[in-house]
């Protein structure tokens, strides 16, 4: 509860709907059940249902006190009015991040405020790694950003807005983070596609929790590190710049941190996922306390899959320049006639510069990069042939 900070409008607090799990939303357990059933259709029907049964006043009290019941149940669908009210509060804890990007790496992202002092969580992606981050809060103020701590195992970065002493920010209350069941409706808030600028509210997308499963996904050679389950969402939540956004339940309680744009390792389809805040909570608290996280050395040193020289020749029909120095450039030494490589148009002497969007720095690099694809994938290579950059499409055999 140390993160509790009141910043939301009175109106939303009184309604007890908006920002239910966000800081400042005080809810007396006994009152909450009523507050969560406030909409005319449900209200009237539940009332009439109850009045049909002669109930003791004790029972009525008990019903009211059973706040947790409705929390356990996926909510009844909101009326439009309820929805628009609920959607206002979480907007205030989202920051728009801006940094360095290139090509398909976006120069913008999203963060979620987790402390009144201005701590922000986001995905530990290129935006954080390259530095020079700035953040724009929901009221349009711009801040420099320090990286306080990171956790590779959780793909998480904790940032701190360079605010003036005494500045306070609305934030999520991690102690109110909840877990949901598949089928529960959710909302995703993010700076996707950089649609909103300045003080404009970020984009909200609606969806349903599709599953809670461990995620096996890759982005080039990078593998999603978290072993514990994540939320899969049935809506397109993980768009450009959405990483670090907030997933809430239908009443605004914080649920997850929206992850990267990433493909599933097996199906190669884009995955829309969020990491449960209940999983991240202890990590964030450790980082907030200033402690360093132990880097799981096993993961870091895990051997990287690569296509062997032999396989490269037998499967693809490619022989690369012998890997004699540490960073031998990825030059093609020979191409087997009628092989996949030959059909793609690759030739002896071609230098492989890019595999999809990844820059290839060496033969080893190329062999590792190629290993991330699966049979049937179409990979776009960029080659340098006689000082010209040419695109080549390679079908993985």
């Amino acid at each position: 509860m140390k993160l509790n900070q009141v910043h939301f409008e009175k109106r939303s607090l009184v309604q007890g709907v908006a920002g239910a799990g966000l800081s400042g939303a005080k809810e007396a357990p006994g009152v909450r059940a009523v507050a969560l059933q406030p909409r005319p259709p449900q209200n009237s029907s539940s009332h009439s249902g109850l009045s049909r049964v002669p109930l003791l006043s004790v029972l009525l009290t008990l019903i009211l006190s059973l706040a947790s019941l409705s929390e356990q149940c996926p909510a009844a669908p909101d009326t439009p009015q309820a929805t628009t009210d609920v959607l206002n509060a979480p907007q205030k804890v989202i920051v728009k991040l801006f940094g360095a990007g290139a090509g398909s790496l976006d120069s913008y992202g999203t963060g979620t405020l987790v402390s009144p002092e201005g701590h922000v969580i986001t995905v530990w992606n290129h935006l954080v790694s390259t530095g020079f981050l700035t953040a724009v809060t929901s009221d349009g103020r711009k801040f420099g950003v320090d990286v306080v701590g990171t956790s590779a195992a959780h793909d998480l970065a904790l940032l701190k807005l360079k605010s003036e002493p005494g500045d306070t920010f609305p934030c999520i209350d991690l102690s109110k983070a909840i877990d949901l069941e598949p089928g529960a409706p959710v909302y995703a808030y993010s700076n996707m596609f950089h649609v909103a600028t300045g003080n404009e509210p970020v984009s909200v997308v609606h969806g349903v929790i599709a599953a809670k499963i461990p995620l096996e996904a890759t982005q080039g050679r990078w593998k999603f590190p978290l072993k514990s389950p994540v939320w899969l969402v049935d809506a397109i939540t993980n768009n450009s710049g959405a990483a670090g956004g907030l997933l809430t339940d239908s009443k605004g309680a914080p649920v997850g941190l929206i992850g990267r744009e990433i493909r599933h390792a097996a199906s190669r389809t884009w995955v829309n996922y969020a990491v449960p805040l209940t999983t991240l909570k202890p990590v964030i608290e450790t980082l907030l306390s200033g402690k360093k996280l132990e880097t799981p050395s096993k993961d870091a040193s895990a051997s990287v899959a690569m296509i062997s020289d032999q396989e490269l020749t037998s499967r693809f029909g490619l022989t690369m320049l012998p890997n004699v120095i540490e960073r031998t450039p990825a030059w093609i030494d020979s191409v087997v006639k009628d092989s996949i490589a030959a059909k793609s148009g690759l030739q002896r002497g071609d230098l492989i510069v890019l595999v999809d969007d990844a820059i290839i720095t060496s033969v080893t690099d190329f062999q590792q990069q190629l290993a991330t694809f699966h049979t049937g994938d179409r990979v776009s290579l960029t080659i340098n042939r006689e000082q010209q950059l040419l695109p080549v499409e390679l079908l993985i055999p």
């Binding site: 029972l59 947790s68 628009t84 349009g140 409706p185 397109i236 450009s240």
Partner: protein, 612 residues
């Protein structure tokens, strides 16, 4: 569907197994409590889910009913060969329908439109708004088309449920529209032109699926009110299919253009002739001002803080871009700004942004290609052949090409509507050559003016407080205007031309849509005339044969003359208003001249006779 149904089904199971650990009722004994709890659990499980399910079913039934009502207004817009295109929505019983410019751009002047009745209708292009990505077409063959009812898109809120209707991927060969459901993800979004001139201002962002072929189709709120036209989506790594971020042009913006589009125009958007930036403190400040602009003449200078523009409070430069983008060129809009001298309020006219003389071409990749199933391979595009020969003559007669217009046929219709009424009104005047001699007084506080106007075919003269002014009607120099009533002489010259009822009195005459007139605060039809360098916008109230006002531009860098006409009265051989109001630019004050006498006479001031 996926969003609504699961909660209702899932509600039953978890409720009945709700943990008892969370309750608090310390006053009750434990055993009693357990029994009561079981009872309560049973009650909650048996009543709430049923009611929730009931409400879901009711809402579903309501939605089905709404869709049944609105589906007949959805148009599948295709090129004349029936090849792919996009979507549209009917807006009136006589077949007018709105679509995207980037949909009709590929179809030419004629198109085939499919409705949910499974039938194909011929349609003709009427007007286009290339910048706003809007096109107006007219379906033929019926006068009882179903049409959509617009809502107020300014009231749309984030989180509100919406439905997009259209024909993505041309899925339905019988033209039954595809419905996708979502929520409003953002409002008042600004989307940059992005290598084209298509600029989405003040648009509605939605997470309903929008795919190729949805373009031009309508967005409805959950009650079936038309709130936008789906035309754009954020596409990136995943290809040109739905990404959960699509944008709809707001219906309130479209409504401001419909009057113009019905005149067969290539409607332009406007510029304010000054730029703004958001300051570090969150104020919207003027960056640069054109020295020839109306804003400059009103006193707008770099550094001034713009508080509101066109009736909307500004908090960012994006706000300014948004509100600027929702008006057609030529609209007069109010603005308030603050500088060292205090608070100021005035109006300015938006100047042309692109001034297209013909329909601009979109880059190939921005055009609406025949929608394809994403699973199909590329390269199946069929190039439409020249189909001019296949268009029936009756349809061909509805299209007239003319430079500066989208379809001049529709401008002629609107011109005719305005000019026929005017001609009938002035037909009884008889000989148009004699001079009109008009006496007027002004009893406005501060200034007392007495004057006499002589309006003849070849010259306009005025005696104002015993000071003479004379102006030739052929290219009159602006310095011959009275400094007390600037622009009055040239306006009287133009008025006399209009009241001749003869279109040939002007070098150009066209219907120019509708506008919200300031200071009348009324929607009026606009008739645009040009004669030499002089451009007049004549304003007609519905049902009035004679104009209620005119704005006359007569020289560059000089304020236009803005006149109001009240109480048109017949005199022997002349028709003239009882009062003429002049709006003087600097203070936007309305100054009334009372007409005391009108006589028709042989020219007195002007001696030279006109030779026709």
């Amino acid at each position: 569907m996926k969003f609504i149904i699961p909660p209702a089904i899932r509600r039953i199971a978890p409720c009945s197994e709700a943990p008892a650990s969370e309750h608090t009722a310390p006053e009750a004994p434990a055993s009693t409590l357990k029994i009561l709890l079981l009872l309560v659990c049973f009650l909650v499980a048996s009543t709430l889910p049923a009611s929730a399910q009931q409400s879901v079913l009711e809402r579903e039934a309501a939605r089905v009913e709404v869709l049944r009502k609105i589906s007949p207004s959805i148009v599948c817009v295709m090129d004349p060969k029936g090849q792919g295109g996009g979507s549209g929505v009917l807006i009136s019983a006589d077949g007018f329908a709105i679509s995207n410019y980037h949909v009709t751009d590929g179809s030419g002047s004629f198109m085939k439109c499919g409705l949910s009745d499974g039938k194909l209708y011929d349609a003709v292009i009427v007007g286009i708004d290339p910048t706003g990505d809007i096109a107006l077409i007219q379906l033929q063959g019926r006068t009882d088309f179903s049409f959509a009812t617009p809502g107020d898109s300014d009231q749309v809120q984030v989180g509100q449920e919406v439905m997009a209707l259209g024909n993505p991927f041309l899925l339905a060969s019988d033209f039954t529209p595809t419905v996708t459901y979502g929520i409003v993800s953002g409002v008042r979004r600004y989307q940059y032109p992005a290598n084209t001139f298509l600029e989405y201002t003040d648009c509605i962002q939605i997470d309903a699926s929008i795919n190729p072929g949805n373009s031009g189709g309508p967005l409805f709120d959950i009650e079936g009110r038309w709130i936008g036209i789906n035309g754009r989506a954020s596409f990136e790594k995943r290809g040109r299919v739905n990404s959960g971020a699509a944008y709809a042009i707001s219906v309130n913006q479209i409504q401001k253009f419909i009057g113009h589009l019905k005149c067969g125009l290539i409607v332009d958007h406007g510029i304010a002739e000054f730029t703004v930036e958001t300051s570090a403190t969150g104020e919207v400040k003027v960056d640069q001002v054109s020295a020839l602009s109306e804003a400059y003449r009103r006193g707008v200078r770099p550094g001034a803080q713009v508080l509101s523009f066109a009736g909307r409070l500004l908090t960012s430069a994006n706000d300014f871009q948004n509100v600027l983008g929702i008006f057609p060129e030529g609209t007069r809009v109010p603005m308030t700004w603050r500088d060292r001298d205090g608070l100021h309020e005035s109006t300015i006219r938006l100047r042309p942004l692109h001034a297209f003389r013909k329909a601009p071409e979109l880059p190939e990749e921005r055009r609406q290609r025949p929608p394809q199933d994403p699973e199909k391979q590329d390269g199946e595009d069929v190039k439409p052949k020249d189909v001019a020969d296949e268009v029936p003559a009756s349809l061909k007669s509805l299209f007239v090409a003319r430079e500066g217009f989208c379809n001049y046929h529709f401008n002629e219709i609107q011109q005719k509507r305005l000019m026929t009424a005017l001609r009938e009104r002035v037909a009884t005047l008889g000989d148009p050559t004699p001079a009109w001699i008009i006496s007027f007084v002004s009893v406005e506080p501060g200034v007392r003016l007495t004057g006499e106007l002589t309006i003849a075919a070849s010259a306009v003269g005025m005696n104002l407080n015993n000071r003479p002014f004379l102006q030739s009607t052929v290219d009159p120099p602006p310095e011959e205007e009275s400094p007390l009533l600037p622009g009055l002489l040239v306006s009287m010259n133009q008025l006399r031309r209009l009241l001749s009822g003869n279109s040939a009195a002007f070098t150009e005459l066209s219907a120019a849509g509708q506008t919200f007139h300031l200071p009348l605060k009324k929607n009026v039809d606009v008739l645009l005339t040009r004669e030499g360098v002089r451009t007049c916008r004549w304003y007609f109230e519905e049902g009035s044969a004679l104009p209620v006002g005119v704005d006359v531009e007569y020289a560059q860098g000089v304020d236009e003359a803005r006149l109001l006409f009240a109480g048109w009265t017949d005199h022997s051989g002349a028709v003239f208003p009882n009062r003429i109001g002049l709006i003087s630019g600097v203070q936007e004050q309305l100054h009334w001249l009372d007409i005391t006498n009108v006589t028709v006479n042989k020219p007195t001031v002007v001696e030279k006779k006109t030779n026709p």
